[in-house]
């Protein structure tokens, strides 16, 4: 059991435990905070996978923006200060069965693949993934077009979100 394996097992445990808390806790603010713990665990995993840039972007985008957005949305949609009523709908056992079947199906599908237990190839110390990533995102025969389309998508989402949630003064 090397140190990296122990770190991975602890992180995986934290991620799964907090994910289960996200989907079962009654208090919505606590659900958002457990989501933040899950996202942190995912950032740790990215760092373990030598994808440092993706790890930091995960913290900036997910925790710094999306999680804060969730917390604000929960605060703005509370009818009373305590969460009452059931938080799982009446067919939750069917959803649990579907989720378990999905997990079983994915596991069965993947374990039949030849590369399932592959080990990581060594990363030569000279590769600078950040530089490769930057070059790939702006080079015409790599991914500049999806990059630009993603920026148009974000603009559309920005305008749409502001318009949908806008409240004119005096309108209740």
């Amino acid at each position: 059991m090397t140190a990296l394996q122990i770190i991975f097992l602890i992180t995986a445990g934290v991620i799964l435990a907090s994910a289960v808390m996200v989907v079962t806790t009654r208090n919505m603010i606590h659900a958002a905070l457990w989501l933040i713990v899950t996202l942190f665990g995912a950032a740790v995993l990215f760092a373990l996978l030598d994808a440092g840039f993706i790890a930091v972007v995960q913290v900036v985008v997910y925790i710094g923006a999306i999680a804060i957005l969730f917390i604000f949305a929960v605060m703005l949609t509370r009818r009373e200060m305590r969460d009452r009523g059931a938080q799982l709908n009446s067919e939750w056992w069917l959803s649990a069965v579907v989720a378990a079947l999905t997990f079983g199906g994915l596991f069965f599908l993947l374990s039949g693949w030849s590369g399932f237990s592959a080990h990581a190839p060594g990363l030569s110390s000279g590769t600078d993934t950040v530089q490769l990533l930057g070059a790939a995102l702006v080079s015409p025969d790599a991914y500049v077009l999806p990059f630009e389309v993603a920026s148009v998508l974000l603009l559309a989402a920005l305008v749409g979100a502001v318009y949908v949630a806008f409240q004119k003064k005096g309108e209740e």
Binding site: A3, I29, H30, V56, V57, V59, G64, A65, A67, I68
Partner: protein, 394 residues
Amino acid sequence: MEFWSNPIKAAADWLTGVFTGWGMPASASNVVVSLIGVVALIVVVMVLDIMLVWLERKIVARFQDRLGPNRLGPFGLIQPFADIIKLLIKEDTTPSGADRVVYNVAPILAMMAVLLLWAVLPVAPIIFGVDINVGALYVIAVGAIGTLAIITAGWASNNKYALLGAFRQVAVMISYEIPMVVAILIPTMLAGTMGINSIVEAQNVWYFWLAPLAAVLFLVSAMAELGRAPFDLAEAESELVAGHHIEYSGMKFGMFYAAELLHAFTFGGFMAAFFFGGWRGPGVAQFPLLGLFWFMLKALIGYWVFGWIKYTMPRIRIDHMLALNWKFLVPVSFVLLMVVALMNSLLRGSDYYVIGMFLSNVVVGWGALEIVRASARRQRKEIETPAQTASAHH
């Protein structure tokens, strides 16, 4: 002599030798030595924080034409310890109806958001936590954790003024992240790398001379991120009764206060690292430890500038703060980014590099201020001559 040329590595090697001598496997002893290093860094940083409390009170006193603490110890140096003892013996209240776990975790998050930054700050050529190659973006990521600390503190206090203060402070913080990202992007672009130690090493000419407007942009957005005056609406006693830390007393409040002062010093350090050459200075090539002295000097000057602005300028209203960001700083920062990129690629290697970049920044800043002045002039004319326009419409 060999110890002094690289004391931290020498100490780490000696400790590793001790642990493997006791029979620990090599990987475990590496982990333990790293943990000891982390704890040592945190201890040093917290002692620095105590001295910053004294420094802060002396600075504010001198700006307000008084002496500051001078009774406890020579020049009042024991005063911070008295403050700490007072905070420790105060009652740690938890308001009724507050979410206990979240309420107690918020000050820890606030302190965490500052201590994590010290992992990437290069204090000397041989003393830094780790030189990750995404260090500049890591600074922004840790700022996101600070935002989280404030909103959890505000919500968990079960107090509408705390929540209002937290909302406003978080809105300001996430808005001012954009000019801060651009202001950090400019030294990154000039150095060609995001690693902060590499940025410091690439500064043969200080980036302040190459991009002064970026330094000003970083200063302004750092003040907003820290929640420091003149952007301190969150903790203004006369506005919102101290904002998100209304309900905190005792050492929990002490952690918020200490985190704020240390955050200001850390950003003074980043200002030095990004724009003023970090640990660079005469004599560092022979004695790398001298870099520590230069860095501390520059960081303390940066901290003094933060204090200077804080105790001189009045507070800005929340809608003015957000208008300043979205209508002035964001367009200026994007235009500056394009101008710096263009001038850098045109002039790099030529004789006019430094003067050309400096002048282009001055031109962009002057142009932005002229546009603002013209719009202000237009608004003033509209307000001052309504009678003429009304009669002209008849």
